[in-house]
Amino acid sequence: MRDDDEEGRRSRWRGIFGVSTRRLWKQATTTRTGRMAASTGAVALTIAILLVVTGIALALANAGVVSQADAEATVVPEQGETLSDVGGVEPAQLGAANERAERIREREGVDHASPVLVETVRLESAQGDDGGESGLVLLVGVVPDDEERSVAGLPTTGLEPGDPHYAGGSYDGPRTGELVLSDAAAERLDAAEDEEFRVVGNRTATDRTTFGVAEIDAAAGNERDADVPVALVHLSELQSISGASAGELADRVLVWGDADAAATAGEDAYPNATVETAGGTDPSQLFDDGLAFATSLIALVVGVAICAAFVATTMGITVNEDRRMLAVLEAIGFPTHSRLAVVGVSTLLTTLLGAVLGIAGGVLGVLAVDAVAGATVASRTVAVVHPLFVPYAFAVAFVSGLVAVPYPLVVAARTNVLAEVGR
């Protein structure tokens, strides 16, 4: 028989898929528009809400003034590979950062490379012994060059090019003591240019180190984090204060220049680290930010559950109404697996169609949330869209469809052909 050969098998499955699709299309456009609108609308709504929540989580993860830089590539330590995560106290850091950044700088296509160390430090005015204004500031250590670059949203040009205190690793070169404050930091410290500040605390012998305000600058391009007090200093001077000089430690290494060359140089210098290239929002940051990750994970789980419940319910009702159709298919010679395939294909197609509408709705939702928040309460971006949302939405819809499909299949499998065609 024809249906025993391979070609017949392919024709049969193509035919079953085609019949399911055409039937669904006619139902959507002609015979059962209301039911189809309910099924796809439910999926679309769930996917749209999922995308909006994920967009908000992504914006949350990407917030953080210290990660703002105009470098083409950023080398960050691989998270979760070291024991440092066990205590959850200190994140992993990059070692020998000064030396390796220097080697990266020598690579062709690389304009500049700088390790970045971030420490929270209490600064107080050095005017008088009673101490003036003091406050916690995020000190960001960098190695500036003579080009205008942005690190932590602040221009490096306020600092003297180079890092003289490093002195080839001996950390005994002359200190510049320069400090570039963001508006927020200046406000918190009530600082003016040329004012002296000293580091408060007893962490090292150099605690009495002072810094002079070289420049006060609004954290450019960072209006959403304008309230974070952040300040740039020379890397080695911060390493000396924090004790990071021992291993020439840094949190990340920024590389400027040709994007590919910068990324390659970063990978060669730190084969076990992750190199992030510039390009807008980085979804992988979701995994680094606990709150954002938890938010998006909850959105995913709830999204899949609700979407699957919607699909299972609406398709279960649809299949229940389609019992006669299934009975007719059996009567004209469709075996059980073919009949279930018709139901399965219909369910998954409905879900995917809902996903398409959901993606559109989700993107519009993100834009709307951001616009409304921006116009009312928020001073920064609260939700972002990313191209990965498209495959993400389809994957979620597909998984939801798979989770939902057993119910309509059970309803379909329990159809009694004689009871239906006999009516």
Partner: protein, 252 residues
């Protein structure tokens, strides 16, 4: 057609012997609803005997009518012949194959390849065009799409609906729908056609057209028509009268 001698079961014509000529052969078929998942199976402990020791044969090229009031077992015979149910006892031979000895899957295959069914209420899929409805059995048969379309259009042409191929069932009259259903039953070129009250939902004139169509189904097919309507049964070469699940006379 002839009614087998029930008392002679096992001594007269053996099933194999009969199968060599008959397209359909029922031998001492008894069926009780309530003993399986049949029509009245759910939630009813009481059994209802729908067929009692029914034996009959249908030769290729003949039309056999099943006559009787509602509940007399007409539909049950058609369902047994098409393999939609397995009788409680007895054998149902279709072209020499005993359907009662086959698995569910094998019965579906035999039905697809050898039996065309025409229902009283047409049972077309409302979301598929007339052409797609006619081509539907060919999908499972693994026939390529272009071939399916050509065959479906040819059959619709034959039943006088060449200009209605892309219409949905909802856009067709009752008579037209039944003609589409007849075209569908013919799409796999079956050896046996079973029609359950094929004119039951149609007015007299339309019913006559459908009957004419059924009559012209071909010389080699065996056709079983169940009806309680005399004009419908007038197309039959032989008529079997049923009452309470038993054959009461061969009206042929």
């Amino acid at each position: 057609m002839k009614i087998l001698d029930r008392s002679g079961r096992g001594q007269s014509a053996s099933p194999d012997e009969g199968a060599s000529t008959a397209a359909v052969r029922l031998d001492d078929v008894t069926h009780e609803y309530g003993t399986d998942s049949g029509r009245f199976g759910s939630g009813n402990d009481r059994t209802l005997t729908a067929l009692r020791d029914v034996s009959l044969e249908v030769q290729p090229g003949t039309i056999v009518g099943l006559k009787g009031p509602s509940g007399s077992g007409k539909s049950t015979i058609l369902h047994a012949v098409s393999g939609l149910l397995v009788p409680t006892s007895g054998s149902v031979d279709l072209l020499g194959t005993d359907l009662t000895a086959l698995s569910d899957r094998e019965r579906v295959r035999v039905r697809r390849e050898h039996v065309g069914i025409v229902f009283q209420r047409f049972h077309l899929l409302p979301s598929l065009t007339a052409r797609a409805n006619v081509a539907l059995p060919l999908v499972q048969a693994g026939v390529p799409r272009t071939e399916r379309r050509e065959r479906a259009e040819h059959l619709l042409e034959q039943v006088g609906l060449g200009d209605r191929t892309t219409h949905l069932p909802g856009e067709l009259s009752g008579g037209e729908r039944q003609r589409v259903a007849i075209a569908r039953s013919l799409s796999t070129d079956p050896d046996v056609i079973v029609a359950d009250e094929p004119t039951g939902e149609l007015d007299t004139a339309t019913g006559a057209e459908v009957l004419e169509l059924l009559t012209s189904l071909g010389d080699d097919r065996a056709v079983l028509v169940a009806s309680h309507d005399s004009p419908t049964l007038s197309i039959a070469d032989d008529v079997v009268r049923l009452r309470d699940g038993m054959v009461i006379e061969d009206a042929g």
